[in-house]
C-alpha cells in the first residue's frame, strides 16, 4: 500500500500512531513492510491457504463475533442435502462436469429451494465449455460458457445474484448442514501447519497474526483488510476476496467503521470504469448485458430479478430508465423501450478472448483509449500478434506508446516473428487531453466521485475522449442518416445531442453527468435511485449514480474542507450509492439497532414515541430503509425493498444476509479452496486437484504453460508496481522526474538464489518462461526470502512490470512472461508463474525464439509430458 498508494497509506500510519498493529503479507519485503509492525512473507498465489488458516483459527477457537454472525450472515442457513464439499471429493465441489469443465451450482442451493429457474446461472443451450470450444476456435464458438453467470457475479459487486429462497435457518448453528458447520469442516485442514507447508509462513508468525486479528475484532474494535491486485490477479482471484469476506463477516468487521475489505484500486477512475462500465458483460450500474440465450425481451431480462428481495427487485425500473437515457423518446412501452436495440452477448467476450479473436482474424477494428496492452496486459506477444492482425487501430494517448508502435519496434519485429512490411494494420494515433484539459469526474477507490474543473485548453490536436466519442458518434450518425437498415436504428435513434462549449466545441461534461444522474418526468434531475420508475417516465444513465446531480447541483464538485466537517466528511465529493461512505452500515448497530459499542458508534436506530416516526441516523447516510425499524418482519409475499427485514443489513442480497457461503453467482465453488497457481513448483498439499478446476485457459501456441513442478522452471516469479512508475509506463516513463528515480528494468532476488545462479547485484539476468525470455538488471536483496515449503526451498523472483520499448527509460516487459490463465468468474489473469533465471543478457533476434524453444523442449522432456493441462482435473 505504501508502494502503490502512498497517500492513502497516511491513514495506516495514522492508525499505527494511534496504536494499531500493521501486518503486511507479501511475497516481498516492500516499502509497506518497512513501516509495518510485522511483515509476513508468503509464497505468491497461496492467499486462500493463509486466509483459510485464519478462518479455521476463528472457527476452531470459537472466536467469531457470534451475535453478528448469527444475525447478519447466512451462517445459520441450511444447505441442501446434495451438497458435497471439496473435503468429500478431493478438491472438487459437487456439480462438477468434467466434460464441460464447469460446475452446475444446483447442489449448492439453500435447503428447500425450488429448482433453479431458467434465469439461473447457466446457459442451458450451451453445449460444452471453453475447452471444447477452444478446440473448435475457428467457428467462433469458443469460450462460450457461463458468461451470463459471470455477469451476475459482476452484478454482485453492487448486489447479489439471485437466491430465490430465504432458506431454513438454525440459529443455534448446530445443524450439520448449516453454513457454519459446513464452513468448519471445509476449513478444518487449514491448520497453522498446513499454512506453513503451503505458504511458507512460520507457525509463530501465523499465530501472531491470528491472535492480533481476533483480539482486535469485537464490539469495541474492528480490523480492516486492504488489498490490491496481489489478491485479484490470480486464477482464484475472486475466491481470494471471498475468503477475506468470510473472515471479516465471522469477525463482525463488515459494515462497521474501521472494518471492511478495502480494494485499493490502481487507476484514477477504475472504480468508475466498472460502475459505468466499459466492460463487455455489464451495462451501467452493474445491470448485466442481455444474453442471447435468455433475453429476447425486457420481461425475460428482468424476470430473474423481479420479485426478488432487496433493491435488485427494482431491476425493471433501473433498466427502463437506462433505455430511456439511451434512446429517449424512441423508447416506448410499445417497443419494449427499445430493449431489442441492445446487442446480446453469447459468452466470454473479455479482453483476452478478444485478443485471440484478433489473432484469428475475427476482430478487425480496435480502439485503445488510454491503454497500453502491449506492455500492460499479460502475454505481451499475444497482444502484439493481435494488434498486427487488425484492419485498423485507433490509439488515443498523451504520449507515444508501445501499443501504437508495435509495427516497427515490437519485440516480434526484432525476433523476425513479425515484419513491418507484412503488417496491414492501419494505425491512427490521436493525442488525448490530460486531466487538467477537460472537465469530468473520477470515481476513486472508495466509490467517491470527484469533479475536476478544466484548467487549460488541450494542446494541438489533443482532445478529450468525451469529445472524440461525441464527434465520432455524430459523424457516424451523419453518414448513416436516412438509412432504413434496421441495424442502424439504434444509432439513429440514440439521444446524442449534448451542448458544446469552448473554442474546441467540447461536449459539456455537466450535461453528461446530468444524464447519468437521471431526470424525472419534469426533466429535472432526480435525487435518488428510489425515485426511478418502470413506466418510462424517468430516465437514468446509471442508477447507482442517481443523486450525484441532486437538486441540479453537481454534488461531485463539493469541496468543503475536512476541517469544517466531521471525519466522515459527507460534504466532500459524492459517494455512490446515495452518498453513503460505508456500505451495509446497518451492521454497525446490533440487531436491535443500538451501536455495538460507544467507541464504534456509526449508524443507529433512533426510536420515537410516535409510531412510524423512528429513524435510522448517525454519522453516515444509513444504508437502510430510513424508517424501517429493527424489529420489522416483512410479509411473506413482500418483494423488492419491502421484503427487507429490520435485521437484514445486506440490503442488496436476496436474503439480506452476508454470505459466508455463496450458493450462486460463482463459477468455481460456493466456498474458497486453495489451489496452486497454473504454474507452480509444488504440489497442492491439500488435494490431488492441483489447479482451480474451472479456470479458463487461453489455448494458443503463443501461450504455452510451464509444466508444474518442472525443474527446468524451478522458480516462482511475481510482478508488481513501483511507487515511482505507473502501470505500463505511458504516464511515468515519459517523465524525467519519475524515470530518473527508477531508470531501468530490474529483478529482485534473494542472496541464496543469487548464489545458486551466479547472479551479481547490478549485473544482468535473463528470466525465461515458455512464453519468452526477458532481461533485467539484478538487485540482490534480503528483502526477498527463500521460503521453505515442505522439504524444498522456493525462490521468488520479483519483477516490476512498467517497462517497454518507448519512453525516457526503456526495458523488457515483465508481462511478456505472464501466461494467460484466467479466473473463471471475471476472466482476470494470473500473474504468478514459474521461470528460470540465468546470468547475462538475453539472446537477440531470432536466437531469442530458439533459446525459449529449447527451454520448452527441455521442460517437456524433463516432465515427460506436454505442458500441464486439465488431465489432472
Amino acid at each position: 500500500m505504501a508502494e502503490c498508494h502512498p497517500v492513502g497509506f497516511q491513514w495506516v500510519m495514522e492508525a499505527k500512531r494511534k496504536g494499531a498493529t500493521i501486518f503486511h503479507v507479501d511475497p516481498r519485503f516492500t516499502r509497506t513492510s518497512a513501516v509495518s509492525d510485522i511483515h509476513v512473507p508468503i509464497r505468491a498465489g497461496t492467499d486462500i491457504a493463509f486466509l483459510g488458516g485464519l478462518v479455521n483459527y476463528v472457527l476452531s477457537h470459537e472466536l467469531d463475533f457470534r451475535e453478528y454472525v448469527v444475525a447478519y450472515t447466512n451462517a445459520a442457513t441450511i444447505i441442501g442435502e446434495a451438497f458435497e464439499d471439496t473435503e468429500d471429493l478431493d478438491g472438487l465441489f459437487s456439480g462438477w462436469d468434467p466434460e464441460s469443465g464447469q460446475y452446475d451450482p444446483e447442489t449448492w442451493q439453500y435447503a428447500g429451494a425450488p429448482k433453479a429457474p431458467a434465469a439461473g446461472q447457466r446457459d442451458p443451450a450451451q453445449p460444452a465449455g471453453d475447452r471444447a470450444g477452444a478446440e473448435d476456435a475457428s467457428t467462433g464458438h469458443d469460450h462460450e460458457k457461463t458468461s451470463h453467470g459471470a455477469a451476475r457475479s459482476e452484478a454482485a459487486g453492487s448486489g447479489g445474484p439471485s437466491v430465490p429462497h430465504r432458506g431454513e435457518r438454525d440459529e443455534t448453528l448446530q445443524h450439520p448442514r448449516c453454513v457454519f458447520q459446513i464452513l468448519k469442516r471445509h476449513f478444518a485442514r487449514y491448520t497453522p501447519e498446513m499454512v506453513h507447508e503451503i505458504c511458507g509462513i512460520s507457525r509463530e508468525q501465523f499465530g501472531q497474526v491470528a491472535d492480533a486479528l481476533t483480539k482486535n475484532s469485537n464490539r469495541e474494535r474492528t480490523s480492516a483488510f486492504c488489498y490490491a491486485v496481489g489478491w485479484t490477479h490470480h486464477s482464484v482471484g475472486v475466491q481470494n476476496i471471498r475468503t477475506a469476506s468470510i473472515l471479516q463477516l465471522l469477525l463482525g468487521n463488515i459494515g462497521r467503521p474501521g472494518g471492511g475489505i478495502m480494494a485499493l484500486r490502481g487507476h484514477a477512475s477504475i472504480q468508475g470504469s466498472t460502475d459505468i462500465p466499459t466492460l463487455f458483460n455489464i451495462l451501467p450500474g452493474y445491470i448485466p448485458m442481455p444474453h442471447a440465450a435468455q433475453h429476447d425481451s425486457l420481461d425475460d431480462f428482468v424476470a430473474a430479478d423481479a420479485g426478488k428481495v432487496g433493491f435488485w427487485g427494482n431491476m425493471r425500473s433501473y433498466t427502463i430508465s437506462l433505455l430511456k437515457a439511451y434512446w429517449g423518446d424512441a423508447a416506448t412501452v410499445e417497443n419494449d423501450f427499445c430493449f431489442d436495440y441492445l446487442p446480446r452477448i453469447t459468452g466470454d467476450h473479455s479482453t483476452y478472448s478478444t485478443v485471440l479473436g484478433q489473432i484469428e482474424g475475427r476482430v478487425k477494428g480496435y480502439f485503445l483509449v488510454g491503454e497500453n496492452p502491449a506492455v500492460g496486459s499479460s502475454n505481451g506477444k499475444m497482444q502484439r500478434l493481435g494488434l498486427a492482425n487488425l484492419d485498423w487501430l485507433v490509439v488515443r494517448d498523451m504520449a507515444m506508446i508501445e501499443s501504437a508502435t508495435f509495427w516497427k519496434d515490437g519485440a516480434e519485429i526484432a525476433t523476425g516473428e513479425l515484419a513491418t512490411d507484412e503488417i496491414g494494420t492501419e494505425v491512427f494515433f490521436l493525442p488525448a487531453a490530460s486531466h487538467v484539459e477537460k472537465a469530468g469526474s473520477f470515481t476513486q477507490t472508495q466509490r467517491m466521485l470527484q469533479w475536476r474543473t478544466k484548467a487549460v485548453e488541450p494542446p494541438g490536436d489533443a482532445r478529450s475522449d468525451l469529445q472524440f466519442y461525441y464527434e465520432l458518434g455524430q459523424r457516424i450518425r451523419t453518414k448513416l442518416a436516412g438509412s432504413t437498415d434496421e441495424m442502424d436504428r439504434p444509432l439513429l435513434d440514440l439521444t446524442w445531442d449534448y451542448p458544446t462549449e469552448g473554442p474546441l466545441g467540447e461536449p459539456d461534461g455537466h450535461a453528461v453527468l446530468r444524464e447519468i444522474n437521471g431526470t424525472g418526468p419534469d426533466g429535472e434531475p432526480l435525487s435518488a435511485y428510489t425515485e426511478l420508475k418502470d413506466d418510462g417516465s424517468t430516465s437514468c444513465g446509471c442508477w447507482i449514480y442517481c443523486g450525484v446531480y441532486a437538486d441540479g447541483v453537481n454534488q461531485a464538485a463539493r469541496r468543503k474542507p475536512h476541517w469544517e466537517q466531521n471525519e466522515v466528511a459527507l460534504e466532500w465529493g459524492w459517494v455512490w450509492p446515495a452518498n453513503r461512505r460505508i456500505l451495509y452500515n446497518r451492521a454497525s448497530a446490533d440487531p436491535d439497532g443500538k451501536p455495538w459499542s460507544e467507541r464504534k458508534k456509526y449508524v443507529w436506530w433512533e426510536a420515537s414515541a410516535d409510531e412510524g416516526r423512528g429513524r435510522w441516523t448517525g454519522d453516515d447516510v444509513p444504508d437502510f430503509i430510513a424508517d424501517r425499524p429493527p424489529d420489522h418482519v416483512p410479509a411473506d409475499d413482500a418483494t423488492g425493498p419491502d421484503a427487507i427485514g429490520g435485521r437484514d443489513p445486506f440490503v442488496m442480497q436476496t436474503d439480506g444476509k452476508g454470505w459466508l457461503f455463496a450458493s450462486a453467482g460463482l463459477a468455481d465453488g460456493p466456498l474458497p479452496t486453495h489451489y496452486e497457481p497454473p504454474e507452480s513448483p509444488v504440489h497442492n498439499a491439500l488435494y490431488r486437484q492441483q489447479n482451480n478446476p474451472p479456470r479458463k485457459s487461453i489455448d494458443h501456441r503463443a501461450n504455452p504453460l510451464n509444466p508444474s513442478y518442472s525443474t527446468v522452471f524451478p522458480y516462482v516469479f511475481t510482478t508488481y508496481r513501483l511507487t515511482e512508475h505507473h502501470t505500463a509506463g505511458a504516464m511515468s516513463r515519459t517523465l524525467s522526474y519519475l524515470s530518473e528515480l527508477q531508470p531501468e528494468m530490474f529483478c529482485e532476488i534473494s542472496p541464496r538464489l543469487a548464489r545458486q545462479r551466479g547472479l551479481t547485484n547490478g549485473g544482468w539476468a535473463t528470466i525465461v518462461t515458455s512464453r519468452t525470455a526477458i532481461e533485467a538488471r539484478v538487485l540482490v536483496t534480503e528483502r526477498l526470502r527463500s521460503l521453505r515449503i515442505g522439504d524444498q526451498y522456493v525462490e521468488q523472483v520479483g519483477l516490476p512490470y512498467h517497462w517497454g520499448g518507448t519512453g525516457l527509460t526503456t526495458g523488457d516487459s515483465a508481462n511478456d512472461l505472464v501466461n494467460l490463465t484466467l479466473d473463471p468468474n471475471v476472466f482476470i489473469q494470473d500473474k504468478v508463474g514459474t521461470c528460470d533465471i540465468q546470468p547475462g543478457r538475453r539472446p537477440r533476434g531470432p536466437e531469442l525464439v530458439s533459446y525459449v524453444d529449447a527451454y520448452r523442449v527441455r521442460a517437456r522432456d524433463d516432465d515427460g509430458r506436454e505442458p500441464e493441462n486439465r488431465s489432472d482435473a
Binding site: A34, G200, L722, Q742, P751, L759, R777, L787, Y793
Partner: protein
C-alpha cells in the same frame, strides 16, 4: 564574534542583521515514518524546476538518486540491513553497487552480512531485514559554512533563518561546495552556478509550506517553527524509546553541536554514517580564528624571511 562562528546561537537572524524577523523555520524529518516514496524529491523538482539528474540504476537498493547535489535537493536514502547480522562471509556475490568489487571507494567491509542461519526461510518468524529510508536535505545550519565562505554574498541567511543561494548573484566560484560538512551543495556543471535546497524561500514569503513537506504523504517531513519542531521531535523520540525502539535518536537537533544545530534535523534509526551523514560535523569556521592566526603568522614568517634574505653581506 563571540558565538557567531560556532556553538550555540539563539537568534540566527539577528546575527545576520535582521532586527525584526519572523521565527526561524525548519524541517524535522522523522525517518521512522518515511516510506521512501520520493514524493519529496519530485515535488521539490516540480516546484523549483530542478533539472533531471541522470538516469542510471545504482544497484543501491531503491536509491537511484544516490546523493544530494546541484540538481537533487531532496534525496531519499535506502538502507537495507539484516536484523540479526553476523560477519560470516558466505562468499556471496556482491551486494553493493554494481562493480562493487573493483570500486575504487568500495565499502569498508567486503564481507556481506547475512542472517546467521542458512535457512533464511520465514521459519525464523521474521523477515530478517530492516529497510531504513530517510529523506535527506540541506541542513540549513545555524553556522552555515557554505554561507560564510561565499565571497559574493550569494549564499545568505534569510529572514526565516534559512540559508539560500541567490541565483542572480552566484558566480560559480564553487567555494561553498567543499565547505559544506554534509556534502549538500554543488555546482551544476551546465549552468555554472551552485544550487541547493532553498527551503522554498519563495513559498515561505506567502506563508506556504515548502513543496516537499506539503507533498510528504506520511508527515515524515515536517515543516514549522524550529523551536516547535524541536519540542515535537523530543516528544517523538521519547515515544519511540518507550515503545522499545532504543535506536531512535535525533540528528542535528542539538544547538550545541558542531554546527550550532541544524535548521533541518532528523530522527534516525541508526548511526548517521549509515545514511551517508557525517557522524559529528563541525563547521569549518569554528577554526576560523586559528586559521587566520596561522595565516597571519605565516605571512609574518614570510615577511621575516623576506627581510632576513637581505640581511648580510652584499656582494
Amino acid at each position: 564574534m563571540s558565538n557567531s562562528l560556532h556553538g550555540r546561537l539563539d537568534d540566527v537572524q539577528q546575527d545576520a542583521g535582521y532586527d525584526q524577523h519572523p521565527p526561524r523555520m525548519g524541517f524535522f524529518t522523522d525517518t521512522s515514518v518515511c516510506i521512501g516514496c520520493k514524493a519529496c524529491e519530485v515535488a521539490c523538482k516540480e516546484w523549483n524546476d530542478v533539472p533531471e539528474d541522470g538516469m542510471s540504476l545504482s544497484g543501491m537498493s531503491y536509491d537511484n538518486t544516490q546523493a544530494l547535489g546541484a540538481s537533487t535537493w531532496r534525496h531519499v536514502a535506502f538502507v537495507e540491513k539484516p536484523l540479526h547480522p553476523t560477519t560470516t562471509d558466505l562468499g556471496l556475490p556482491g551486494m553493493g553497487a554494481p562493480g562493487w568489487d573493483s570500486h575504487e571507494n568500495g565499502p569498508a567491509s567486503a564481507a556481506v552480512t547475512l542472517p546467521a542461519s542458512e535457512d533464511q526461510g520465514a521459519e525464523s518468524g521474521d523477515s530478517g531485514v530492516r529497510w531504513l529510508m530517510s529523506s535527506d536535505v540541506c541542513k540549513h545550519c545555524t553556522h552555515a559554512a557554505c554561507l560564510d565562505v561565499c565571497p559574493t554574498g550569494s549564499l545568505f541567511r534569510t529572514e526565516y533563518g534559512t540559508v539560500v543561494v541567490q541565483p542572480d548573484i552566484c558566480n560559480g566560484c564553487g567555494y561553498c561546495v567543499p565547505a559544506c560538512p554534509y556534502g549538500v551543495i554543488d555546482v551544476r556543471k551546465e549552468d555554472g552556478r551552485a544550487f541547493k535546497c532553498t527551503l522554498c524561500y519563495d513559498r515561505l514569503k506567502t506563508g506556504d509550506t515548502p513543496a516537499c513537506a506539503k507533498a510528504c504523504p506520511t508527515e515524515s517531513i515536517q515543516y514549522g517553527e524550529l523551536d516547535e519542531l524541536r519540542a515535537r521531535a523530543d516528544k517523538r523520540v521519547d515515544e519511540l524509546h518507550e515503545k522499545g525502539l532504543d535506536v531512535a535518536r535525533l540528528y542535528g537537533r542539538d544547538p550545541e553541536d558542531g554546527v550550532g544545530g541544524d535548521g533541518a534535523f532528523f530522527l534516525l534509526l541508526d548511526e548517521p554514517e549509515v545514511y551517508g551523514l557525517p557522524p559529528d560535523p563541525v563547521v569549518t569556521t569554528r577554526d576560523l580564528g586559528s586559521i587566520w592566526a596561522h595565516v597571519g603568522a605565516a605571512a609574518g614568517a614570510l615577511l621575516a624571511i623576506g627581510a632576513a634574505s637581505f640581511v648580510g653581506r652584499r656582494r
